[in-house]
Symmetry: C2
């Protein structure tokens, strides 16, 4: 119908040329006259009391313009889940009582160049009283462990979930299985390090912060709180971002310090950028987690109960801890029809670096645990893992036991389609030996994901404004923060479609807290769904204004008019009345002179998880997917080669199919890294591999074939039926691979990464057991 | 009622601190990495054919980055009254066929520094064939005069106005008087020279122009046309402007060239700034005009007819010629109830520099002519000038003979009040000698003014957007261009009042074609009236959204609610329901999550002057004022000292009284300069006094006492009753002073400036005549 509509088409990225030509501006590229270089002073101790900070020598160093410590601040704590979890507000922008990990921020300097700034750091004299530290989550929970915050047993966040009668259900099960899964930490590995420029304006007492961030409005909020300023006096601007993946979702002490230093310098802009070592060690990392699961099934495959315990090493501060622990537990219930569940989640403070959000939040850890576990349950009753899942997964229009409202749901279709395209029926259990000692296997994992998460604040809004200019071109203002995923493109497509015009008309301006409407940020796969709906609403509002003028001019009913393919049409007669350009000229003409300004906002009707009961409908809709891995395992070396990944995803409707495929491929490759290579290692609280040479991520030479298929469920809430989907494909990858390894060689690896050593050791174990 | 409302209060300027501390950013202050300096090559001839332009030597000069001529452009003409007067589109951004005045733009260079750029200019070899030139408007109209454009007799614009039967009315008059008034050219004398920075972005094929301008959207339009680009691909940003006064109301070739040079340089920003000499000689100037008037009155004072001719020296190009000639004629009919009028206006091309808009457009010239003329008519029938005016001026709710719709009209009140506060009755005709040969006199002038002018394009719209942030602070986006007059402050006041909140909540972002809604610009005293109404509408829209949420929450009717004094109140019960902050928190809370984004636009219901008939209702409302000058004339030296000016102004309602007084005082002082000192002099087309040392404007030592009183007519169309008023007080000043001089010493000076020499010569003439 709408032949010019870009929705559903793989139109080029709106920022493609800028990115390809290298003209795209990142924060690091900005140069301002008189700009200074800032650096953070970080704790060398994992746990210590701060006795005294003497900055006098640093201040006297020529070229140093300012030094700040907590004494320059209002000493107000911030957190990332403040609204629903005030007890998680545990970090000062600059610490002054204690340091809790190696890297904790104590002071910052601004100087004329980097060398001077670094020299100044070395001249700051901090006296510490070193305290006993704890680096293991389980040890930290034990009585007598070093106390990091006030939390009892160092458990910062608890999420006890219990529905039904799990004990009875286990008793009534035909097969009960217990597992322990161990998940390591990981880094986001965004290519662009954390970087910001803070500038204070003396005459207006206002601040501008350019920051590589996924959530400019979140930074504004935290900055306003910790600097005791009005939000509107702080402008946070996002430029191009070279990847975030959850690692740029909060205000960092460097954001705060860049602004504070600029203020202390009388307004000179201060640029701060993390070294790669700092990014790995002192920003955020994935929560290492332990899943202890005990579950039961009936012979017919009915999943009776899941029980167990989830322990997450949260590191020194809470960050997005509640969201992560919730995501690590609640996703079970989106995927599986469960009547009985009991899980106890604990997020534990340790003196490691801060665990926080990372693509999938806790869902990746959970995905590995539960999807490996499910395979073992199926195996226990001799059931095909695909059949087992088809029997137990959720359906459309389901109210889960914890009150999640699932409307559209293509999960079963995803499973069937994945089985079909992967040749599951022929391959599973075939144990094909492709060369001596090299065996093939196939494995499945499934997942569900949210599109938004009412965890960070009371609402989850996004807004958009659309200005239709006199020449018919269209400016779109959205608070949504494109961090490389292509949301600017998707927003432009949605605006163009709803307005009935060509994609090329749209110019976008995004993620500037002064200029654009509010948006909570890029996380939880929310942008297409929530910001997309806001943009659609703004376009509807703009379109209505145009149609009102046309209706008045032509003496027709506005309800009978629409804009399609750049034409105003009479919906009743199908007649083209005038072109979009003509309609805009009419709006701005003599008799009307009416500016076309559309505005829209959207807030899904969601409820947060109640941490006392586990109930809550966290997202406006839910996405689903099934993933199948085909692997080859060399039994001589233990090496696993992923031959191909099949991914079938219920994406509602793809606004930009190429972008959706890109998100899926990116997720799978990130999952591949977490499955086979990545492991952010610590020794006494210190990251031992804080560089790309030591921290192994998949490289272009290790890319794998990926076949990705969409299931279109046309979500009733989504803009043009679309759902969010930036994270889901990462969730089942590790389990799919692990399950495929089992299919190939009969060993189930329960801790990541799946290294050749672990595979060899497991094969040896089996051999030994067989020989016994 | 609304005690916190800032409307009607002299709140501090929103930009006061920035201006006072020197932190306010002007275009010249901007520094970008790799920024180049641009310079214009200008014609040294007043009229010449361009035979050849050779830029090869300049291009080879080390440090030169680009040279542009018309060959680099699409060769498209632009004009400033394009929409209704397409025949006035007569200027290329770079000329290539002919040059028509000394300063006409032919080429531009961009180089690493100013010295190199200037050297490059000297290396551009232009071969001219010099043509005969004409520098006098009357001579230019004669057959055989050098032909400057295609226009017959060099008359670029004609405005023949005829209503009633003027000849019969003159015959029926008891007294008929003829006068010729001669008005010189003048400069805007803004302290900040014209300056811009153009930057082309290769990857997006877009342009950003920072320009010291009164009309960013107007520049965008002209730039898009002449560069053959989409408007939305051009972003024009206004920063602080150090005065415009009509002189920064158009795209200048330097704006165009800065962008074109940047494009040719591959994207390096190019800064161009006029020298002071260029500002005086090559930007815009006031139209020199001749008013030949012949009018008649009855003995009882009834004004029977005005007839005559108006000739304006338009210089080399048309610029805002039609608007100026219309303003120079049509204002008669706003002020005086006229049944018979015949005036023939001609705007004539000459080889002088370009005449254009300047505060009051042609109203200042017209004001001097008509108000001097009226005094002489009154004198002819022995009637008091105040009484004469009271008898003949327009009333409220008047449809003028040329179909102007005057609603509120405080003109008679202005006249009465001015007479009262100045002690007119006692002083007029008293001829008090204060010291030997020094005589005092008093004189009156009156005026009307528009608030907007439908001359530049088909509509006269302005738009505003208001974002109410989560913390209750308010961002206001307006296209209105504050050039120092304080419109940002007025907009903030209007927004605050309508929203019912404190002024301090408002943050303003203005005049950026990408970010802010459309606005035709700062001219014709339109901003408070038109942009003010748009801002009020946006605030109403935002308020309604807040009240809808409150109404829903409290189960009340939205029509019963309002916001006053930072409180949501029940209008029926008068009860305060909750504070504004609480209401905003509610909007953004759990159940609503509704972003508050208000949008408004306003377009007065006006019609342009029909240049065939003189009919048209050019403004949405009209402002009025009376001004009385008290002077002392030294008959020995001819020196005129203005003792005091009394100004009574129908401003509808003052949004910011201090700002309104400031506008009145600024206008009067500008008028004082034009009356006594200013004269932009030409010799063979060359400005002979292009510097502040040679071009005399009033200085702080020459300031005069001004008493300014408001008449509040509460205009039904104006925001909170306000009218625009940035120009009116300049219109009657010269005549009031000239008439006061007559009252003092009996001579009527009919050409400006009124120099001691002219006064002495006139006194000598009288003496001679008396002796005859």
């Amino acid at each position: 119908m709408k032949t010019t509509s870009p929705v559903g088409k793989s139109v080029p990225r709106i920022d493609a040329r800028q990115k390809v030509t290298g003209e795209a501006t990142y924060v690091f590229d900005l140069k301002f006259p008189g700009m200074l270089v800032g650096k953070m002073l970080r704790s060398p101790h994992a746990h210590a009391r701060i006795v005294k900070i003497d900055t006098s020598k640093a201040e006297k160093l020529p070229g140093v313009r300012a030094v700040v410590t907590a004494e320059d601040t209002p000493k107000i704590k911030f957190g990332s889940n403040e609204y629903f979890f005030p007890y998680t507000v545990d970090q000062y922008p600059l610490e002054f009582e204690k340091v809790r990990y190696i890297g904790d921020e104590i002071a910052a300097v601004a100087a004329v160049d980097e060398a001077t700034a670094e020299q100044a750091l070395s001249l700051i004299d901090v006296q510490y009283e070193v305290l006993p530290a704890v680096f293991d989550a389980v040890a930290a929970m034990k009585p007598g462990a070093p106390q990091i915050h006030a939390a009892r047993n160092n458990i910062g966040v608890m999420l006890p979930v219990c529905f039904g009668d799990p004990d009875r259900a286990l008793r009534e099960s035909d097969y009960v299985h217990e597992d322990v899964f161990v998940l390591p930490s990981a880094a986001h590995a965004a290519l662009e390090p954390h970087v910001c420029i803070g500038q204070y304006e003396v005459s207006t007492d206002r601040i501008t912060l350019w920051s590589s961030t996924q959530a400019p409005f979140k930074i504004r909020e935290a900055m306003a709180k910790t600097l005791k300023m009005q939000e509107a006096d702080i402008r946070v601007i996002k430029l191009n971002v070279g990847g975030g993946f959850g690692g740029k979702l909060e205000m960092f002490p460097m954001d705060f310090c860049a602004c504070l230093l600029s203020k202390k310098c009388g307004g000179a802009p201060v640029k701060m950028m993390c070294t790669r070592q700092e990014v790995f060690s002192c920003t955020r990392r994935k929560h290492p987690m332990i899943y202890k699961l005990k579950s039961g099934v009936k012979k017919d495959g009915t999943l009776m109960a899941i029980t167990g315990e989830v322990i997450a090493d949260g590191g020194a501060y809470c960050s997005y801890g509640p969201t992560v622990i919730a995501a690590g537990i609640m996703r079970f219930m989106m995927v599986y029809q469960l009547k009985n569940i009991r899980l106890f989640g604990s997020r534990v403070y340790t003196n490691n670096s801060i665990s926080g959000a990372i693509r999938g939040f806790g869902g990746v850890q959970s995905g590995f645990a539960i999807e490996s576990h499910m395979d073992m349950l199926a195996r226990g009753i001799g059931m095909d893992p695909v059949e087992f899942r088809l029997k137990n997964t959720t359906d459309p229009n389901t109210l889960t036991i914890n009150k999640m409202i699932i409307s559209s749901n293509g999960l079963k279709d995803c499973i069937r389609k994945a089985a079909e395209i992967s040749g599951w029926r022929e391959k599973y259990g075939a144990k094909k030996e492709t060369s001596p000692g090299v065996l093939r296997g196939i494995g499945i994992g499934i997942a569900a994901d949210v599109m938004g998460s009412k965890m960070y604040k009371s609402h989850e809004s996004a807004g958009s404004i659309i200005k239709v200019e006199e020449d018919g071109s269209v400016y779109l203002f959205t608070g949504a923060a494109d961090t490389g995923q292509g949301s600017d493109t998707a927003m432009a497509q949605i605006a163009a479609h709803e307005l009935g015009v060509a994609y090329e008309r749209i110019r976008i301006k995004a993620a500037d807290t002064e200029i654009t409407p509010f948006d909570t940020g890029s996380f939880a796969s929310r942008v297409t769904f929530i910001s997309g709906n806001a943009t659609k609403n703004a376009a509807t509002d703009a379109k209505r204004q145009i149609l009102e003028v046309v209706a008045q001019e032509l003496k027709l009913g506005v309800q009978d008019l629409d804009i399609e393919d750049e034409q105003v049409v009479n919906k009743k007669s199908g007649k083209m009345l005038l072109s979009f350009d003509q309609a805009v000229v009419l709006c701005y003409s003599f008799n009307y002179g009416r500016l076309i300004i559309g505005r829209g906002s959207y807030n899904p009707k969601t409820t947060p998880i109640d941490f006392r009961t586990g109930e809550g409908n966290i997202s406006g809709s839910y996405g689903f997917e099934a993933q199948i891995a085909e692997v080859e395992v060399d039994t001589k070396t233990g090496r696993v080669k992923v031959l191909k990944m099949y991914d079938v995803h219920d994406i509602g409707y793809p606004i930009n199919p190429a972008s959706v495929h890109g998100q899926i491929e990116g997720s799978i490759v990130m999952g591949l890294g977490y499955t086979l290579y990545e492991d952010l290692k610590f020794k006494e609280g210190r990251v031992v591999n804080p560089s790309f040479s030591k921290y192994r991520i998949p490289r272009s030479t290790e890319m794998i074939p990926i076949e990705s298929v969409f299931i279109e469920t046309n979500d009733p809430q989504g803009p043009f039926g679309a759902k969010g989907m930036g994270e889901a494909s990462l969730l089942p990858t590790a389990a799919a691979i692990a399950n495929a390894i089992y299919d190939a060689v009969g060993v189930q690896i329960k801790d990541l990464p799946i290294t050749p050593q672990k595979v060899l050791a497991a094969l040896k174990d089996i051999k030994n057991k067989k020989q016994e």
